[in-house]
């Protein structure tokens, strides 16, 4: 592999430099090369949101992102949103209010919700519904997900 076929970025706060060919998709790099399996592959085509990560703080579909274009940026996965001990407010609310069933969509939702609350700490229900409308959940009917995000927004100060 040539010297430049690598990508250097900040992954969950830690500098990373890993081999990466041009056509490598970020999701594949995270899951298959780095074994950061919290980020899920649901459709691979941008529809389900299971693969959502933060790139420079912005929720991003990792299945539609070239890994090499994260060069020099900061990538945060669900692993990076989890405190060393315990759970974040969003995570806590998802557990307590039943917003996770099979759990496969959940990391994506947690990432999206975390970014939403960062930007809009007191969203209305309608704003929450809109914000999560790129994340597909087949189990919950979304009601408890909206409940949990609303609860997390109240609990954080």
């Amino acid at each position: 592999m040539s010297a430049e076929a690598r990508v250097k970025f900040l992954l969950n706060g830690h500098p990373q430099e890993v081999p990466c060919e041009d056509a490598r998709i970020l999701l594949d790099l995270l899951r298959d090369d780095l074994h950061l399996t919290g980020t899920k592959r649901g459709c691979d085509l941008g529809t389900c949101g299971c693969c959502t990560v933060l790139v420079d703080g912005r929720p991003t579909l990792s299945c539609l992102t070239l890994a090499r274009l994260t060069e020099g940026r900061s990538v945060t996965t669900i692993e990076g949103l989890t405190p060393p001990q315990g759970l974040s407010a969003v995570q806590r609310a998802f557990v307590d209010l039943g917003a996770t069933q099979c759990g496969f969509c959940t990391p994506g939702f947690v990432v999206t919700a975390t970014a939403l609350l960062e930007e809009n700490p007191r969203p209305t229900r309608a704003e929450i519904e809109r914000a999560i409308s790129g994340n597909l959940c087949r189990c919950t009917g979304y009601i408890k997900i909206v409940d949990a995000i609303a609860a997390a927004s109240r609990s954080s100060g």
Binding site: D44, T47, P59, T60, T112, A131, G134
Partner: protein
């Protein structure tokens, strides 16, 4: 799903991009947010050995009330209330694109230039091979209208009609230098559908310019889709206009999501300037537009229904635009 190998280029200036484009002529695609191109690549649709990523080209970034850089992100536009107040039809359209996650990466340029869509085209290689390839990729016939050697794939971008009604112009840069053209002229009226743009090979979309003269038009974009998220337009109607009382001073209507190109209906709307647009006249106008739009059966909803909705959506969009606040 992996991507076949390609070489990725990351120019930083428009000139460098244009030079690269010239050197790679015919063997590359531009990559903006990638939300349209990469799904198509994953389905092995018209792959090229080179990708020229536009994200480091400074000049393409950002937006103001007069200019949208080609690489302006839809999510950023969506979050700017001042922009929404100035350009209501455009803001409506931006908020209706795909999903918030797609809008986070998706760009203005990518939206205007996105690949047209068809049930026979947006399928995996396996799927297409099993039926026999079509004109638009790898094949030589059309499954929708087999009699003709023309592609009817639908223009499915939300922004184009919304920008067309405010007379937006696009700035492009190519081997022959820079030029500006009305957005409406970006879509090739004489093409065979496979060739659908008037861009010369290697030409790059730099920015969209929003004319000052169009500021203050009231506007609305209404989109027909099955679900309020995810779905591409099955029809998109954009309106912008100016009224004095009930009298029309200016009116523009464009329809997208229904045909291979977004289209404006200036002849019909110009005829109304200086007249009052009462309910009956509005109905007439809407019906006339509805009659001229001809969707084919290559999307989820049936063409008859989409066509019937044109009149309803036009009528409502005009009524709502008129009620709306001016920019």
């Amino acid at each position: 799903m992996h991507l076949d190998p390609f070489e990725l280029h990351r120019p930083t200036t428009v000139d460098e991009t244009v030079r690269l484009a010239g050197a790679l002529a015919g063997r590359f695609d531009f990559l903006a947010g990638g939300t349209d191109l990469l799904p198509n690549y994953k389905m092995h649709l018209n792959l090229k050995p080179h990708l020229v990523a536009l994200e480091d080209v400074d000049e393409l970034r950002g937006f103001s009330a007069d200019r949208l850089g080609a690489m302006a992100r839809l999510a950023d536009l969506e979050r700017d209330p001042a922009f929404a107040a100035t350009w209501p039809s455009v803001a409506d359209a931006v908020g209706e694109v795909a999903t918030p996650l797609v809008r986070a990466s998706g760009t203005v340029g990518g939206n205007l230039l996105l690949e047209t869509r068809c049930f026979f085209f947006n399928q995996s290689y396996f799927w297409r091979a099993s039926l026999g390839f079509c004109l638009k990729a790898d094949g030589d016939r059309c499954h929708v209208v087999p009699q003709k050697e023309v592609c009817y794939a639908t223009h499915s971008g939300d922004l184009a009609p919304a920008l067309m009604v405010v007379d937006a112009e696009v700035e492009v840069a190519g081997p022959a230098g820079r030029r500006r053209l009305p957005l409406a002229d970006l879509y090739d009226a004489k093409g065979d559908g496979v060739r659908r743009l008037t861009l010369a090979p290697g030409e790059l979309l730099v920015a969209v310019h929003l004319p000052r003269a169009a500021r203050g038009r009231r506007g609305r974009y209404k989109k027909l889709r099955v679900r309020p998220a995810y779905d591409f337009p099955e029809l998109g109607v954009a309106v912008a206009g100016r009224w004095t009382g009930d009298r029309v001073e200016e009116l523009r209507i464009a329809v997208g999501g229904a045909e291979p190109r977004p289209r404006r209906f200036d002849t019909l709307t110009d005829a109304l300037v200086g007249r009052t647009l009462d309910d009956a006249r509005l109905r007439e106008l809407a019906e006339a537009i509805g009659k001229s739009v001809r969707p084919v059966h290559n999307t989820f909803l049936l063409p008859d229904y989409r066509r019937r909705m044109v009149a309803v959506y036009v009528r409502r969009a005009v009524a709502e635009a008129r009620e709306g606040t001016a920019g």
